[in-house]
């Protein structure tokens, strides 16, 4: 829900509540006023009758009826009574409507020239239903106008007032850390937006700086590690040129292997960092069919040496939009994995279609949670001399190209499936 819609909605809900309360109050105020008005009118009538009596006018009930004022009762009382006024609500039968109607009745005792009279008059009150109806009608009109006003103001607000905000938002969306350009704040006349823009600028500046540092670190770390490793390796090689006993030599060999592993580790970490830093974003058309075909040929001897059998089912000319280096790394890692974690006389099955690449290999079941498989340094096969970064690298590449990867184990087959268009499947 858009902010402005939410704002209008809240405004309208508040308006409805306020109007409801206002209606309730209005009802009583109007009713009170009307009742008072009626009361005053009756009081005035009684005063007028009293005045007319005082003037000596003789009210006969017949004459009264003739005047049409049916609701006026004047009775001469036999004895003197102290003046008094009684006002009360009463129900009176209405002939025409054939129902009881609420009426206001004002009765008074008045003494004119030593004669006491009972004067009483009554009349229909304005019905509460009518007041309610009127109030509701007025309120509905007000509400209608409020809705129109709110929506109108909403459009103006979202159109004009929020323009700088939307601009900032668009710029954040376009922001690419690889461009190494922070989002510069633009002055607006709204303090909050200025704050936001300044904050965004500061944040992107920091992100760009950190990114640069990280990138430099990844490059330097690789370089700085390789040189001492080279030295050690060379020294060990020179050591093997001297007279060593087979036992001593084995120690040297073991050291060599560790150095090799260390070197590969730092290379892989540097590669992973580079992929994470989005250094390989230039996409190119890559013929995956050819890539797989060529690499299986390159690996042929290894496959034979490892006593493996490879079955391929490749669709011709499968093209992907991907950085060629990434395509190569992804495939090589997948394939090497299948070779590495295989069993003796095992098999590898490769199936490539336009939508997915599936590579299966025979192997022992994993003794770990498959969710952890793509995590760094999680190794299922501890016996193998691997560094545990291969699948993480694959996952990074898959993520970056919006592919989907899944792993499955069934009947002694490990299957890794990469879907190239996961959203359309």
């Amino acid at each position: 829900m858009k902010l402005i819609n939410k704002f209008i909605l809240i405004y309208l809900v508040v308006t409805v509540i306020v109007l409801g309360i206002a209606g309730y109050i209005s009802f009583f105020v109007i009713k009170g006023e009307l009742d008072n008005e009626l009361k005053w009118r009756f009081m005035d009538r009684i005063d007028r009758v009293t005045y007319l009596l005082d003037e000596g006018k003789n009210f006969k009930s017949k004459k009264l009826k003739g005047s049409g004022d049916r609701n006026l009762i004047i009775q001469q009382l036999p004895q003197k009574v102290a003046p008094e006024t009684v006002i009360k609500d009463t129900m009176v039968w209405h002939d025409r409507l054939q129902q009881m109607e609420p009426n206001l009745k004002v009765s008074a005792y008045r003494t004119v020239e030593d004669t006491s009279y009972f004067i009483s008059t009554y009349g229909a009150l304005v019905e509460t239903d009518d007041i309610t109806e009127a109030v509701v009608q007025i309120l509905l009109w007000i509400l209608g106008l409020q809705v129109i006003g709110a929506i109108g103001v909403g459009f103006i607000v979202s159109g004009r007032l929020f323009k700088p905000f939307r601009e900032t938002l668009a710029r954040i969306k376009r922001f690419n850390i690889q461009d190494k350009e922070p989002i510069l704040a633009r002055e607006t006349n709204v303090e909050e937006f200025n704050d936001l823009n300044r904050f965004v600028e500061e944040m992107t500046r920091k992100a760009v700086k950190d990114y640069k540092n990280l990138k430099e670190f990844a490059e330097n770390a690789s370089h700085e590690l390789q040189t001492p490793l080279s030295i050690t390796k060379g020294k060990l090689e020179l050591l093997t040129e001297t007279d060593l006993t087979p036992e001593q030599y084995q120690y040297v060999e073991a050291s060599q292997r560790s150095i090799k592993k260390l070197s590969r580790l730092s290379e892989s970490l540097a590669l992973l960092t580079k992929i994470e830093n989005h250094e390989f974003t230039n996409k190119d058309e890559v013929n995956v069919t050819n890539l797989i075909r060529e690499s299986t040929q390159a690996f042929e001897e290894f496959i034979k040496l490892n006593g493996l059998q490879v079955e391929t089912d490749l669709e011709e000319d499968v093209f992907l939009q991907i950085h060629p280096v990434l395509a190569d790394i992804m495939w090589t890692n997948l394939f090497q994995n299948a070779i590495k974690h295989n069993i003796e006389d095992g098999r590898i099955r490769i199936r490539l279609t336009k939508d997915s690449l599936e590579i299966s290999n025979t192997g022992k079941p994993l003794d770990m949670d498959t969710d952890l498989l793509f995590k760094r340094f999680k190794k299922a096969d501890h016996g193998v001399d691997s560094i545990g970064l291969g699948l993480s690298i694959i996952e990074q590449i898959v993520d970056q190209n919006n592919y989907a990867i899944s792993y499955d184990y069934e009947d002694g087959w490990h299957t890794i499936n990469v879907k190239f268009h996961p959203e359309s499947v």
């Binding site: 490059e219 690789s222 370089h223 700085e224 590690l225 390789q226 040189t227 490793l229 080279s230 030295i231 050690t232 390796k233 060379g234 020294k235 090689e237 020179l238 093997t240 040129e241 060593l244 087979p246 036992e247 030599y249 084995q250 060999e253 060599q256 292997r257 150095i259 090799k260 070197s263 590969r264 290379e267 540097a270 390159a298 690996f299 001897e301 290894f302 040496l305 490892n306 280096v325 090497q336 070779i339 590495k340 193998v384 001399d385 691997s386």
Partner: protein, 228 residues
């Protein structure tokens, strides 16, 4: 053969020099850009090893200068960066080969020899080891004039041995030379033995001496007494 090693790291320089001096090479060295530039401009070398990251400038710049005055000099770039960009740029500038740290000294040596052969082109494409002749141009091996039918891997192997005569070469080193990084995926290196056995058999059948000596528990040595 006269070599120039451009490398700022003293230890690494010592390693390379120690190994190559045994081969009877004249090794000169430069530790920074200025020194490298002066030497490249003043003298001629058969092969120049260039580290990309050197104090005072870039090894690629040295390579550029060198190619402008002495285009026929063999050049090998040594880099810690496995970065593809450097590799491509280096090779585009005319470097003959590219080796990534950490490298093996026998491997470096084999490459120096290969680069030198490629650049000399004065009949030196034939390497002679007594009765064995290796033609690096046609990739043919003959023993006393009779051709020996070798697989590409066996050819690589004899060339590698011939380039590192009288050095102990471990199975690991040999495997890495022949298969590069793919070796990481092999749990045992017995296949090296297989290849050596086949090569030995073929050479002996053609009438050559057995130069490939097993060094127990270590690897192999191509033992040649009189240097050819």
């Amino acid at each position: 053969m006269k070599l120039l090693i451009i490398e700022d790291n003293e230890d690494l320089l010592q390693n390379i020099r120690t190994y190559l001096k045994r081969e009877g090479y004249i090794c000169e060295f430069a530790r920074d850009y200025r020194e490298a530039f002066d030497k490249v401009m003043s003298y001629t070398y058969d092969v120049v090893l260039i580290d990309i990251m050197i104090p005072g400038g870039s090894g690629l710049q040295v390579l550029r200068e060198l190619k402008s005055v002495n285009p026929q000099t063999g050049t090998i770039i040594i880099s810690a960066k496995n970065a593809l960009d450097d590799k491509v740029e280096g090779l585009e500038l005319g470097a003959d080969d590219y080796i990534t740290k950490p490298f093996q000294l026998p491997e470096l040596h084999a490459r120096i020899k290969a680069v030198n052969r490629r650049n000399q082109r004065d009949g030196r494409e034939i390497i002679n080891v007594n009765e064995i002749a290796i033609n690096t141009d046609t990739m043919e091996v003959t023993v006393n004039g009779t051709g020996v039918d070798l697989t590409p891997k066996e050819y690589d192997l004899i060339l590698y041995f011939a380039s590192n005569k009288n050095h102990v070469l471990s199975k690991q080193t040999i495997a890495e030379h022949l298969w590069g990084d793919y070796v990481d995926h092999l749990t045992n290196l017995d296949f090296v033995y297989q290849h050596i056995k086949n090569l030995r058999k073929k050479l002996e059948k053609a009438g050559a001496q057995n130069y490939i000596e097993s060094v127990y528990g270590i690897g192999y040595k191509f033992k040649v007494n009189n240097r050819a």
